[in-house]
């Protein structure tokens, strides 16, 4: 069993005075394909927001490599910059595809020359070089998702959070990104994927957490799923 890189402990989140998340424990394993599954409204995206440190308004704690993620233990911004998120409905900023892919590096004050080189490389790798000069509002849903994937990968994240990316992707692209995710795990990246795709779950999942009604129903490497 791989090391635990991230853990949510006793995490409670309320919305309109109602608990929408009531998690005792969820573990994310290093350099593995971790899956988060469950019916719509079960709290998957809410948990993803908390684990990726995008949402810090909750009760309980998130542990990174066994250490509670607090201001005392970590520079939260720097830690967050080790993570990347691919959202279900990606938001692209005004400007070109190239400027969107470059944005995370610009936010980290990387030099222009290095940014341009990295943008070209990642675009080549994901076969979206032809889109680089296109405006973000001229893209199809699939092209937007590919751009957002490139934007998320350009920082070489330690943990990649992926929230149902397949919705806007065609069959070929889905297959391509499944293989890409597997390659990334080979390279040592940790992935947490939210999906409803049975093919992905059956073929790639190493660790699965099943959420239902904001609570963990099952969790681990050997989860019994009633498909």
């Amino acid at each position: 069993m791989n090391d635990i890189i991230l853990e949510a402990k006793n995490v409670r989140k309320k919305y309109d005075k109602e608990h929408i998340l009531n998690i005792d424990n969820v573990k994310i394993y290093k350099s593995s394909f971790n899956f988060l599954i469950g019916p719509n409204g079960s709290g998957k995206t809410t948990l993803l927001n908390i684990l990726s440190l995008v949402d810090t308004d909750f009760k309980g704690e998130v542990l990174y490599k066994g250490q509670p993620v607090t201001k005392e233990n970590f520079n939260i911004l720097n830690l967050r910059r080790h993570f990347s998120v691919i959202w279900q409905n990606p938001y692209l900023f005004k400007g070109t595809v190239a400027s969107n892919i470059a944005l995370p590096l610009k936010l980290r004050n990387v030099k222009e020359k290095k940014i341009n080189k990295k943008v070209r490389n990642i675009a080549k790798q994901l076969d979206i070089e032809h889109l680089l000069e296109k405006k973000s509002n001229e893209l199809s849903g699939g092209e937007m998702q590919k751009t957002s994937i490139a934007r998320s990968l350009i920082t070489n994240p330690e943990i990649l959070f992926v929230d149902e990316p397949n919705i806007s992707l065609d069959y070929e692209s889905t297959r391509y990104f499944n293989n890409l995710f597997l390659e990334l795990i080979e390279e040592g990246i940790t992935i947490l994927l939210i999906t409803h795709d049975l093919y992905q779950i059956e073929n790639f999942a190493e660790y699965i957490t099943v959420l239902n009604d904001g609570k963990v129903e099952q969790s681990g490497a050997d989860v019994n799923l009633d498909f």
């Binding site: 990726s52 959202w87 980290r108 973000s136």
Partner: protein, 231 residues
């Protein structure tokens, strides 16, 4: 018909020959409008952003007041400011009545609600997903704010251009607070009203054509920024 054709010929002649009086009036109007818009932008843009992003008691009431002020008649505003800056007003000793400063105060107050409301709308229109995305990409608080401004920039520019369009075409504030003094506080609109009454129809028409051209350019810019066709 002959009268109109002659007046039109005279008007174009005044524009083409860059008549000094026309130039002075246009220049005064532009100076006033640009200064008023600049001041209102500096005050109104941060307020518009704060109203959208900060939750406070009475926010709904403030927004209702703001929306009401959008249709404030210029003469009513002129009257209000007049009561403050006239000799017997509480700011009377500063001698601002019938000066450019007096007009600027009135014009700033006129377009402040417009700029605040339109900036508020521009910020409000930025997709909520933007904030989550910016955080997930590793933006600091300041970077998130800069990204927000960048995403709303066309709406904000549109707000400022709309404010400029409002002041360049208003007559009530300029007339009541400026006094329509030739070569000093006479603006395009007050000159049109006065010179036409005096029978200088060509002169009024020349200024009307210039004002219409400015309005066209302003509307073109607003359309350009708000059409969503540009990025």
């Amino acid at each position: 018909m002959e009268y109109i054709i002659q007046a039109l010929k005279g008007a174009f002649n005044l524009i083409i020959t860059l008549d000094p009086e026309v130039r002075t009036v246009v220049s005064t109007s532009l100076q006033l409008s640009i200064t008023s818009t600049f001041i209102a932008a500096i005050i109104g843009t941060p307020i518009g952003i704060l109203i959208t992003k900060v939750d406070f008691k009475g926010k709904h009431f403030l927004n209702t007041i703001l929306n009401t002020l959008l249709s404030l008649p210029t003469v009513v505003l002129g009257l209000l400011v007049f009561s403050f800056i006239s000799r017997r007003g509480i700011m009377g000793e500063w001698g601002m009545l019938f000066t450019m400063r007096g007009i600027i105060i009135g014009q700033v107050l006129l377009i402040l609600p417009i700029i605040i409301a339109l900036v508020r709308n521009a910020i409000h229109d930025v997709d909520e997903k933007m904030y989550k995305t910016a955080i997930s990409l590793g933006a600091t608080g300041t970077q998130q704010f800069r990204l927000l401004l960048s995403e709303a920039r066309y709406g904000i520019i549109g707000a400022l251009v709309t404010g400029f369009g409002r002041v360049i075409g208003e007559v009530g504030v300029s007339m009541m607070l400026g006094g329509n003094i030739k070569g000093y506080t006479r603006t395009i609109t007050t000159a049109i009203a006065m010179e036409t009454n005096k029978g200088r129809f060509s002169f009024g028409l020349a200024l009307g054509i210039i004002l219409l051209s400015i309005s066209f350019i302003i509307n073109y810019i607003i359309y350009y920024f708000q059409s969503g066709e540009i990025q």
